[in-house]
């Protein structure tokens, strides 16, 4: 039960935060879009810097209540290859787990529903190949 409570509670907080940004600023809480726009120096980026600052501060504030960030166990090769593909794929495909997964599906967007189905499947296939075919733990 507790195993499912934290994911559910965390998910509800994510939904409320995305809704707060939409109501206050009319913006979609899509992290890849926010980061991609910050790569260009342009007017109107202020709210994006504030959101990213909050994203970093959230876990720091929570650390006072016993939550901690994990140790990263994956290899450097996985991190670099993963990072390149996550960055390229989310920018080329107009979104990631937050923009398509929460806000897009939340708007019942056919594009986002397609994106999430596709990346869930390729992610599961990738994990299958890495863990069960190549035998990397």
């Amino acid at each position: 039960m507790t195993q499912f409570f934290e994911p559910l509670a965390g998910g509800v907080i994510l939904g409320l935060s995305a809704l707060l940004l939409l109501i206050a600023s009319g913006r979609i809480a899509g992290i890849s879009g926010i980061l991609g726009n910050l790569l260009t120096i342009q007017p109107g980026n202020g709210w994006r810097w504030m959101f990213v600052l909050g994203l970093i501060l959230g876990p720091i504030i929570l650390s006072t209540t016993g939550f901690s960030l994990p140790a990263i166990e994956g290899s450097w090769a996985m991190m670099i290859a993963g990072g390149l593909l996550v960055g390229f794929g989310s920018a080329y495909g107009s979104g990631c787990t937050s923009g398509h997964g929460i806000c897009g599906i939340g708007r019942l967007s056919p594009r986002s529903i397609t994106s999430v189905m596709v990346f869930m499947i390729t992610a599961a296939i990738t994990v299958f190949i890495v863990r069960h075919v190549m035998g990397v733990a």
């Binding site: 934290e6 939550f67 960030l69 993963g82 989310s90 920018a91 939340g106 019942l108 990738t126």
Partner: protein
């Protein structure tokens, strides 16, 4: 006010990702490992977020003609399921499956000061720059 609410939404997002377990790549990979010792709990993250955002978005759409601190909503206008959307999602999924990290959790993990997180973020930003160059052509 825009900046304040973007900061609050960011803090909420960072807390939601931490509480839900999305910040832990090993947990994410366990969720994606459907053929192994499958940890289904992270399905409740998207479940919880959508439980709030789907009805919330419908209410906002009906009740608000504009957000509180902007003149209008900034919602994606693209409608067609095109090649970049699908190719991007395929590659994003592979990267997510290799690393267990997507853009939000990458940033939320910054205060953990792990070298590999910074490596992932750097690679991700390079991937985004390449995709944005291609998109701009």
């Amino acid at each position: 006010m825009n900046f304040l609410f973007a900061l609050l939404a960011g803090i909420g997002f960072g807390m939601g990702l931490t509480i839900s377990g999305m910040v832990d790549p090993q947990k994410v990979l366990g969720f994606l490992d459907v053929a192994g010792d499958w940890d289904a709990s992270l399905a409740f993250v998207m479940g919880g977020a959508l439980m709030v955002f789907i009805p919330g978005f419908q209410i906002v759409k009906k009740q608000l003609t504009s957000p509180l601190f902007e003149k209008s909503f900034f919602l994606p206008s693209a409608n067609s399921i095109d090649k970049p959307l699908v190719i991007g999602a395929v590659l994003f999924g592979i990267g997510w499956g290799l690393s267990g990290i997507c853009p939000g959790p990458a940033i939320a993990n910054i205060s953990g000061m792990e070298d590999k997180v910074f490596g992932f973020i750097l690679a991700m930003l390079i991937g985004m720059i390449v995709a944005r160059r291609i998109n701009a052509k």
